[in-house]
């Protein structure tokens, strides 16, 4: 008697969730399973404690995924409109280069705080502009996002390399403005904090605002959105601009973390971001997906990678495992589509 009533209670709870919420719960379940698995497989430290579960290790994982995680937030929006942004890795490189250049090669007559603010502002501005450029061509001239952002990927990196003559711009450990910038922004709490705050903002943006609704609608059925009076072009433009802005953030943090503006950095980051988004349940065909899912996808990759590294598995195996997760996640989603 009791078991049946509790099972019906469970059933109606499950039914109350929307389809999206159900997907996120399933992904969360998978993440928890992987987490438990990783801690079981974790080697022991010399004092017998579980290395994986050490607070330092767990926060390491968070920090390691934060930069790609921030990029994934923007990528989530883009993919929700059934688009794609291949240029984010290059925008990261450009942003890191610009902020480093403005802090090392420019000596204006102003306080450190002002110079740092301007440097960061300039990096974010140029990143957003790059995204907006892609967005304009995609929205107004109706060119395929893959092609436009591919061109962006190549061109923007070229710009970054040109600005620094293909050299790395090192940020030191001294007392100068660049070192101060790095000291402020490189810490674990700062980087993880940025990720968390941006994730929260964008989660709200997607889930609770008119803009978020428009993004999902455009990805679900662009023509119907047009016929329903939605500002489709504007939505697309904003989405790519936001993607650029977030890649810019990631670039600034990268420069602080690595003490370096590097025009060759971020190669392949766009693929990692896409992987996180896809694993998290957002379909490439657009319309369906959540920020929560993307965060879970990001964490899944981070935990699995850490598990493999702690056990000293060859770093090339990491890539094989990553590929396997992606295929698996997509297969599960495809099956889920019919259940709807």
């Amino acid at each position: 008697m009791r078991s049946s009533s509790s099972s019906t209670a469970r059933q109606s709870f499950w039914k109350k969730l929307t389809g999206q919420q159900r997907d996120v719960t399933k992904s969360l379940g998978a993440l928890i399973a992987i987490f438990i698995f990783a801690s079981l497989l974790s080697p022991a430290a010399s004092d017998g404690s579980n290395i994986f579960l050490q607070w330092g290790n767990l926060t390491d994982i968070l920090r390691q995924v934060s930069i790609v995680g921030i990029i994934s937030l923007g990528m989530n929006f883009v993919i929700l409109t059934a688009g794609i942004d291949l240029s984010v890795g290059s925008i990261l490189a450009l942003s890191s280069t610009v902020v480093a250049l403005l802090l090392t090669r420019w000596q204006p007559e102003m306080g450190y705080a002002a110079q740092i603010s301007i440097a960061i502002g300039a990096a974010l501005l140029i990143s957003t502009a790059s995204g907006a450029l892609s967005g304009t061509i995609i929205a107004i001239f109706d060119v395929q996002p893959f092609v436009v952002t591919l061109a962006g990927m190549i061109g923007i990196r070229g710009l970054a390399k040109w600005l620094s003559s293909n050299a790395n711009v090192d940020v030191g450990f001294g007392q100068d403005v660049a070192s101060l910038f790095a000291a402020i922004f490189r810490g674990k709490p700062m980087i993880i904090g940025f990720y968390v705050v941006l994730a929260a903002i964008f989660s709200v943006l997607l889930g609770r605002t008119v803009f978020g609704r428009y993004v999902r609608a455009v990805g679900d059925n662009e023509r119907a959105s047009l016929y329903a009076g939605l500002p489709v072009r504007s939505v697309k433009l904003w989405v790519y601009s936001l993607s650029g802005l977030l890649a810019g953030f990631a670039g600034v943090l990268y420069a602080a973390e690595n003490h370096q503006g590097n025009p060759n950095s971020g190669v392949g980051y766009e693929l990692d971001a896409i992987a996180a988004v896809v694993i998290g349940g957002t379909q490439l065909s657009g319309g369906k997906g959540t920020i929560a899912g993307t965060i879970i996808g990001t964490l899944m990759i981070g935990v699995l990678t850490n598990m493999l590294r702690l056990n000293n598995v060859d770093s090339n195996v990491e890539m094989i495992v990553k590929g396997a997760i992606i295929l698996f996640a997509v297969a599960v989603q495809k099956q889920g589509k019919d259940v709807r």
Binding site: V210, A217, N221, L226, Y227, A228, G229, R340
Partner: protein, 501 residues
């Protein structure tokens, strides 16, 4: 007595629970041209597609040359010697004529590498048979529509088809291409090939067909020899003898003119002029492709007016986009609710409110409470019942989906409403609900344009009926005084009708 080459009995087919074909029967003799007639949605294309294997019947018996067969797909049909030429010719535009003939063709026996020479040799005889003089290597997209159609027929012949189904073959042909087609058909008749000719066009049917079968509401209501019957007889069979009483008394035009088209010409429309008054329901009838939906597109700013003007309450319309139209309180229901209307993966409430979110939000954040209230009150008006409003709209039945789209229109408190085939493919109960709301809206003063393929429906509700034909208005009829025959006649016959002369 020529032998029966094809026979069908008791064929059934449902799409999404709606009956497309019911208890249909059909027979075809070798060397005959047999017409298949009926209004839009009567089921004739579906029946033809069942024979061709493009659609599989739910139940029923099909006999070819007297033996029972099952046709599960186009290849089965091909093996039985059946070929179909579709209204939207399914050729590959950037392949050559010969390549088109050869693709998927069981009769072209080549393995591995295929040489152009072999394909030419295969293609030439059938091309000659249909009278095509172009080279087998010419790209299909460089041919005229008439030539493309002949290529389709050649394709059927190259598969050695003995039964050829043609779906509205002359709908996009002009005079001499149609003539060539008829000559080819005459030649095929002599060879004993049987042709099923799906069409609306009376003059053609009386010219080339031996027998005619009429369908109505998915049923085959009768078969006659062509000499035993006249066009009015056929029209009466297509319409049927049921006569629903008028639901609404036509309103005498008294309100102000809210919308007026004056000589509007767009890509598809030609010199369209009409007026819509407050509280009036104007129906739009006509064959598919006659320009009915294009009126809506012109109204909503999706198609540009090359000539002519659109007036809204006496002022020139400045509408350039759908959003502009919404600002002027004009709302519409596109023809294809799945492709053009709904966001399938979003919820019922989200779909209903998507066009009005700005109003239902504050500072960019959606006010979920107000949104829900607004949506639910519309749902109630439309008697839309759903156990959960967070379900994805793709899980609803057709009727309910249509109600969601209507809710979207209603939320905008429109002054003008353009409904494109709102009751297509939905069940009877939902239809009644929709009729009710239309009546209420008209009573409240909303001007409504109602496009439909169902004549009884138009006659029940509309004050006037515009009949479209090939992009222009063939007639502007008073719904209270006209009949289905008249409407259908205007839709199908050229204005100077020789058939009635």
């Amino acid at each position: 007595m020529p032998e029966t080459i094809l026979e069908m009995r008791g064929v059934e087919k449902r799409f999404d629970g709606v009956r497309a074909v019911h208890e249909a029967s059909f027979s075809l003799a070798a060397g005959e041209v047999h017409a298949l007639m009926g209004e839009n949605g009567a089921g004739k294309s579906t029946l033809a597609k069942i024979v061709a294997g493009a659609v599989s019947a739910d139940s029923g018996d099909i006999f070819v040359d007297g033996s029972p067969v099952t046709i599960r797909g186009p290849r089965d049909a091909q093996r039985l010697g059946i070929a179909m030429i579709y209204q939207e010719l399914d050729l590959f535009p950037h392949l050559s004529v010969a390549e088109n003939l050869v693709t998927g063709n069981d009769k072209f026996k080549e393995h591995g590498f295929v040489r152009p020479r072999d394909m030419d040799r295969f293609a030439e005889p059938v091309l000659r048979q249909v009278g095509l003089t172009c080279s087998p290597r010419s790209e299909v997209r460089s041919l005229s529509t008439g030539e493309k159609q002949l290529v389709s027929i050649a394709h059927a012949l190259s598969m050695q088809a003995r039964i050829i189904l043609m779906d509205e073959p002359t709908s996009s042909l002009f005079d001499d291409a149609a003539e060539r087609l008829f000559q080819v058909i005459a030649g095929l008749k002599q060879q004993g090939v049987a042709i099923v000719y799906v069409s609306h066009k009376m003059d053609e049917i009386f010219r080339i067909c031996n027998r005619v079968t009429v369908m109505r509401d998915g049923e085959t209501v009768g078969m006659r020899g062509i000499r035993e019957v006249s066009p009015p007889d056929l029209i009466r069979m297509m319409i049927g003898h049921e006569w629903k009483p008028r639901e609404r008394e036509p309103v005498a035009p008294s309100g102000e003119v809210v919308l007026s088209f004056a000589g509007v010409t767009t890509g598809k429309l030609r010199d369209v002029s009409f007026e819509l008054r407050q509280g009036e329901v104007v129906g739009v009838a006509g064959l598919l492709g006659s320009g009915r939906s294009e009126i809506g597109r012109a109204l909503m700013g999706l198609d540009r007016c090359k000539r002519g003007k659109v007036w809204l309450r006496g002022r020139l319309s400045t509408i350039k986009s759908v959003a502009d139209a919404f600002k002027m309180r004009i709302r519409w229901l596109p023809e294809d609710r799945k492709l053009d209307g709904l966001m399938m993966r979003m919820s019922i409430v989200e779909n209903a409110t998507i066009s009005d979110l700005k109003r239902l939000s504050s500072m960019g954040f959606v006010d979920r409470l107000r949104e829900r209230e607004g949506a639910l009150s519309c749902f109630q008006t439309l008697s839309l019942k759903s156990n959960s409003v967070t379900r994805a709209v793709g899980t609803l039945s057709g009727g309910n989906q249509q109600k969601v789209l209507l809710s979207r229109c209603l939320l905008g408190k429109p002054a003008i409403l353009f409904l494109d085939d709102p009751t297509r493919g939905i069940d009877v109960g939902a239809k009644e609900d929709i009729y009710q709301i239309i009546g209420q809206l008209a009573a409240q003063g909303v001007g409504i344009i109602f496009v439909s393929s169902e004549l009884p429906e138009l006659l029940r509700f509309c004050d006037r009926i515009l009949v479209m034909r090939e992009g222009s208005i063939a007639a502007d009829l008073d719904a209270g005084l006209t009949s289905q025959e008249e409407v259908l006649t205007c839709a199908t016959q050229p204005p100077v009708s020789e058939a009635h002369a």
